[in-house]
């Protein structure tokens, strides 16, 4: 396990060094450097936002806004090596604000992946691939998980999604949420404990 942890740290150091170089290049006027940052973090940003919002188009829009904001305020980033956690903080805050501002239109009966009519094909319109309509039990489980996670306090929800679901390292989650690593561990534990109780019928 120590070797694995050491490899993780090495990979993370390499990633941070690349981020710092890309930030410097962007500030020097090279927008292709910022493109590399987009490619490095867009999947993680969209995944976290999608889990928070439940709608892929909303998630894409929020992530676009987050990247634009990050670009505008790139000079204010104190440590360019921490671009990733800084961007995820922007993404998380925008997603949470979006959640608070929108009216609750999510229907548990239809499932999560609501797509607007006439959307261009960022996703395969013929599929509805994220949902297997024939599997009512799977839908029921997904809806139950959604409802249970929605009941969690915000900090626990964020810590659970970032660490337990997305697998972001605890140190980085602490940077994103601006708290200690112990706080991250505690919030994750409390969230898991609560979900184990509320989803007990699905865990046997």
């Amino acid at each position: 396990m120590d070797d694995a942890a050491g490899n993780d740290r090495s990979d993370q150091d390499d990633a941070r060094r690349r981020d710092a170089e890309a930030v410097s290049g962007t500030l020097a006027g090279d927008l292709r450097a910022f493109d590399s940052l987009i490619e490095a973090y867009q999947r993680r940003a969209v995944a976290v936002t999608y889990r928070l919002l439940g709608n892929i188009n909303d998630a894409m829009d929020v992530c676009q806004d987050a990247y634009v904001r990050a670009f505008r305020s790139l000079e204010s980033l104190e440590d360019p090596r921490k671009f990733g956690s800084w961007l995820m903080r922007i993404v998380s805050n925008l997603a949470l604000n979006y959640r608070r501002d929108r009216r609750p239109t999510l229907s548990l009966a239809t499932g999560d992946d609501e797509r607007g009519i006439g959307e261009d094909a960022l996703a395969d319109s013929s599929g509805g691939a994220s949902l297997n309509e024939g599997s009512m039990q799977a839908n029921e489980t997904q809806d139950a998980i959604t409802a249970a996670i929605e009941q969690l306090p915000e900090k626990q929800r964020m810590a659970l999604i970032l660490f337990a679901i997305e697998g972001i390292p605890q140190k980085e989650v602490a940077e994103i949420l601006e708290c200690s690593i112990e706080a991250v561990k505690w919030n994750v534990f409390q969230a898991r404990k609560t979900l184990k109780e509320s989803l007990s019928e699905f865990l046997t």
Partner: protein, 234 residues
Amino acid sequence: MTDDRTQNIERLLSERRDGRLSAEDLAEIERAITGDSANARSAEAFDRLGALLKDWRIVPDTVDWQTSARRVSERVRADRSSAEEPDAGRLASTDRLVREWAGPMPAVDWPALSTRISNAVREEAGRAGQTRRTRWSWFVKASAPLATAAVIALAATWWITTGPKLPIDGGSSGASFVMVALEMPVAVGKVSISFDLSPVGAPDRPDAESGGRAIAYGPKINDTLDSDADAFFY
């Protein structure tokens, strides 16, 4: 098992699949699972929960990431372009609006204006001089009574503390008197008291008995006492 230990075990069980526990913690988990079926069920429940959460709200596989990245890039470039718009271009319309609002400058008789300003300044200067004189006279009027009152107060204080004492002369002038009490009055006897009225520091005079009244309090005296033994002297 204490609540803390129970909670600690539960926490370790929840973190079992995170891949970040020490060998010691993993050993403790194994002991807890082996020795207690409730812990074993709890561990399975946490494992199952982890699997469910991993499958929850997965981003659709059909998302076109290249297109998404290109759109973000285009939007960033568009945002930068709008931010770099020349200030002159943006502000030119504002300048035009301000000029239209202000209107043309009316014709002004500058020499007449100059004369008028000068006269007003001279007039103001004269008033300022009067104001200074007025200010000084006010000061004198206000301060003189205060100074006079202070002098009177000082004089009265001096008179009271250092002025000549009034003579001790019976009750004619309401002057000071000295009361003498005998600690051990006797039935008969004579007490004489003399006063030295000379100023303090003056040499003692032999005829210091310059008179004065004295009252000596003693016990009640029998009426048979003769005049030489009057109990009360004055």
